[in-house]
Structure formats: structure tokens, C-alpha cells
């Protein structure tokens, strides 16, 4: 994982089939980067659906959530529509996993992102990170604690 206190590397990825989003566009906001293995996990309240319900809490902290996986922009679009997600899913698709590699959270064996979280502050500095065991949805307590800490 990249170190807390270092500058988060910029990137630009598709968020819809015809739109790109780069990290630097979000200066002035806090950013939660949620790397996850794949769309379409089979439970209710999977990690992305869960965070989707917490957007109000994140926005109280001036934080924008971004989900990132190696799924394609078309796959993300279908997934986001199906689960009624109200935050961007970024397609780390071509070259595959490049941003995950940049953030040191790529699983070479499985060819997908690890389950990892970064919280980045208003000027692009990494303030907190967490690598979760791949099978365990980490919830949001670590993110909210980090956002609370940053107020001080």
C-alpha cells in the first residue's frame, strides 16, 4: 500500500462509456478510493451497495466515494443501474489494473483488484489506507473514523 502522508498519484479512468474522471478534478474534496475485486457479488449489501447507502454520511464529511475494479465501463454501467448506485464506478480496464498497480493493490494471481481502501484529503494527500482480507467486506467504520480524525 502507498504510505500515509504521501501524495496520491493522479489517474484518469472511464466512469461512464463516454466520460472520464481524474483524481485531480476532485481537489477541494476528500476522496474515498474503494478498490474491490469484481462487480456482481451475490449478496445483499455487498460492499458497494453498502457504501451506496452511506453516501449521506460521507457527504457530511465533504467526501466523494469512487469504486474501482477491473470490470469494463459497460459492466459497471449495468451493475450500477441494477444496484441503483449513486456514485462513480471507475473501470481500471485498459491497461488492465494499471491504477490498482499504481496504488499497490493489484492481485496478480487473480487478475483483479484487492479489496483496499484509501482516504485522500482535500489537497490529494493520502491520510488513511486499509487492505482487507479479500473475502471480508470491511464495512465503513475505518473510513468514517479516518474522516473524523481529519477534522482535528
Amino acid at each position: 500500500m502507498l504510505k500515509t502522508g504521501t501524495q496520491a498519484p493522479d489517474f484518469s479512468l472511464n466512469t461512464t462509456p463516454d466520460q472520464k474522471l481524474s483524481l485531480s478534478q476532485l481537489k477541494g474534496k476528500r476522496v474515498i478510493l474503494a478498490f474491490y475485486p469484481a462487480d456482481w457479488s451475490p449478496v445483499c449489501g455487498d460492499q458497494m451497495a453498502l457504501y451506496n447507502e452511506m453516501l449521506k454520511i460521507f457527504s457530511k464529511h465533504n467526501a466523494q466515494l469512487l469504486g474501482i475494479s477491473v470490470d469494463s465501463k459497460w459492466c459497471h454501467m449495468a451493475f450500477a443501474q441494477d444496484r441503483k448506485l449513486h456514485f462513480p464506478l471507475l473501470a481500471d480496464y485498459e491497461p488492465k489494473g494499471a491504477v490498482a498497480k499504481l496504488y499497490d493493490v493489484y492481485d496478480n494471481e487473480e487478475g483483479q483488484c484487492k479489496r483496499a481502501l484509501y482516504v485522500i484529503d482535500e489537497v490529494g494527500v493520502i491520510r488513511w489506507s486499509y487492505l482487507s482480507p479479500v473475502g471480508i467486506n470491511p464495512g465503513a467504520d475505518g473510513i468514517i473514523d479516518a474522516l473524523n480524525e481529519m477534522k482535528k
Binding site: 445483499c44 449489501g45 444496484r83 448506485l85
Partner: protein, 172 residues
Amino acid sequence: MSKLKPPVGGKDHIQGNKNAAIELVEYGDYQCPHCGRAYPIIKSIQEKMGDKLKFVFRNFPLAEVHPNATNAAVAAEAAALQGKFWEMHDIIFEHQEHLGDSHLVKYAARIGLDVAKFTVDFETPAVLDKVEGDFESGALSGVNGTPTFFINGERYNRSWEEDDLLYYLRSK
């Protein structure tokens, strides 16, 4: 390790022995099929453990995926104002397929609530606040889906099939 925040207190609905050494907290969603499956499992565990167990239910409605979940939670909290939280909690889980507002009113009548009062309480902002407060506490505590269980304040990450959960609780 994800910890329960805030700890169980006066605002919580508690079933069983309030002074029991083992405390099981469920964050649940009334429209979630997994919570529906957990419901009889918890009942059976409560029966087997008797006064060794304290059980607490907190609301965690996943409103985007379960459009009736918030209102069902509000209905249970409105019933609590007449001292019948658990009766409502039970009848809702026993009729998970039918959670429209008109059904909720029928359940209120069936468990013997003053329906006029229930209908007013159902619309009271304070009741919705209680549900949203539970949800926020769940977010802070590391709830990672529904149901999520906390045992003596720590998130339980293992299987909640009856044998597994009972074995774990008895080992505490």
C-alpha cells in the same frame, strides 16, 4: 477489529436477561431475505440459551435495494412507543413478502396496537430519526451487510448457521 459504537444502552430494544454475560446484537433489515432466514435461528438460540443471553436488534435498512425496509423499521419503532416492539419485529419477519404500508397497519391491528396512535407515530420524524440513528451507529461500527452480528461488542465475522453461532456463543 470492528467494535459496536455506541454500546448497548437505554435507547435499545433488549430481549432476554438484561444482565446476561453474553450480549448478541443484530443489525438487520426487515426486507432482507438473509435476515428473514436468521430470524428463526435467533429465536431458537434464545430458547436454548435462556437467561444466559441478552439479544438486541438495531435497524439497518438498505433502502436502495429494499424499498420497504425503512418503513418496516419505522413501524417497529412506532410499535415500541406502545411497548410492542418485539411483537411488531416478529410479525414483520413472519410476513416479509408483504411489507407495504397497508400491510404494516394490518399487522399493527393484529398485535393489538391502538391503530390511530400507531398511524400518527408512524409519521413522526422522531421515529424515523431513531431508525436513521441506528443506521449511522451501524456504519460507525463496521456493519458490512445484513444481518451483521456483534457479540459482546465485537463484530462477528463467522457463519451464523445455528450450530456455528450457538457453539461460538456458548464458548464465550
